[in-house]
Symmetry: C2
Subunit: 219 residues, 2 copies
């Protein structure tokens, strides 16, 4: 899989072979274009063309372009598990390796494009968080979902990590590494800064694991 598709994962049950409906086509095109070009740089007319839909249909389903963006972010929240987290959890059952499998997955998604695009949530976070008060909470909701998974993994690691370690703070840091590393990778069109940051996080984990291990054998 290259970049996530929203329409390929509609929630219809039982699954149908029918062509995706208007709403899905619009959401899919909008998500892709917002990701590729940003929100402000994407015209509604482009979304209409790519979705093969007339303006009236779009505005019948979504009252405004802003509302469409909100729907895209809602969908990102819904798809966090099936698209992002399930593949990671299937790769390994080791909770700590899951953290790095997640970071590795993002690398594999974006490095083939020389780190164009970047994280769809992160991009929107910096572009519209201030100007669209009703959108910002939806971005926060996405980040909260991501860090909740990471935090659960860190909890699952139990006493392999130091007892006094704040797992919530470490989970936030994992997201930080992902987003900050991706930003630099995008600016340089190179994986170097991303890999460097993930590597330093790995070194930090190794030191934490060693410290916890020493604490267990010699308390």
């Amino acid at each position: 899989m290259n970049v996530q598709s929203l329409s390929d994962h509609s929630m219809a049950f039982p699954p149908t072979n029918q062509p995706p409906d208007t709403r899905s086509r619009i959401l899919d095109a909008a998500a892709r274009l917002f990701h590729e070009q940003g929100f402000n740089a994407t015209g509604v007319s482009t979304i209409l063309r790519e979705a093969g839909v007339n303006p009236g249909s779009l505005y019948n389903l979504f009252p405004s372009k802003d509302a469409l963006l909100a729907a895209v972010l809602e969908r990102y929240t819904e798809l966090l598990h099936p698209i992002v987290m399930e593949p990671v959890e299937k790769k390994t059952s080791d909770p700590i390796e899951r953290v790095f499998a997640l970071l590795q997955q993002y690398r594999e998604w974006y490095s083939p494009l020389e780190f164009r695009l970047g994280c769809p949530i992160g991009n929107l976070a910096l572009e519209v968080a201030d100007s669209h008060p009703e959108i910002r909470p939806l971005i926060q909701q996405n980040f909260d979902g991501w860090s909740a998974y990471v935090r659960k993994w860190l909890d699952d690691a139990g006493d392999r990590l130091p007892r006094d370690l704040d797992r919530k703070q470490l989970a936030a840091t994992v997201l930080t590494v992902m987003e900050g590393g991706l930003m630099q990778a995008r600016s340089s069109r190179s994986a170097a800064a991303y890999d460097a940051s993930v590597g330093q996080l790995r070194a930090y984990f190794d030191l934490l694991l060693a410290r916890a291990s020493a604490g267990r054998t010699q308390p």
Copy 2:
């Protein structure tokens, strides 16, 4: 100081008391508006109004809005030392504390606004890196400048840090923490994720310092 002003730091020598010239007024207004609203969301007409300038004057100095953005980013590069790094280096001479003074300075700049705005370079990185091929290198140039300073500090720390530590990678990670932490702070309108990430980075440094110290006394 709250948020950096470009025009307050023109390079004129000897310093004059004359009102800032047209070019400076335009650059100052553009930088502020790009920071506050983003590049695409800022109309040229707004820049003209805020700078108190007519379209012809702007287009006499800058061939296009894109060229104006390029000039803003060039100016950010020029001002990196006087605005960002000099205050940090004046705060402490300890090279490792300088790293955290830098992170602290960003917190102090943006937390009074509840982390609105965010990093002016980082915002532009995610908004225009893909769509403006001539701009991306200027963003990269800014990040390179930042990480060069941090890397120099890490080098200055000498054997207080482990010999086998890759200082370039750690410098990239410091930037990662800054940008990734700020992104989450902006999304949540809270310092929590930023402070968490900086705190974890501090814990990592403490472990590195302890390891290097042990390596020195017992090689």
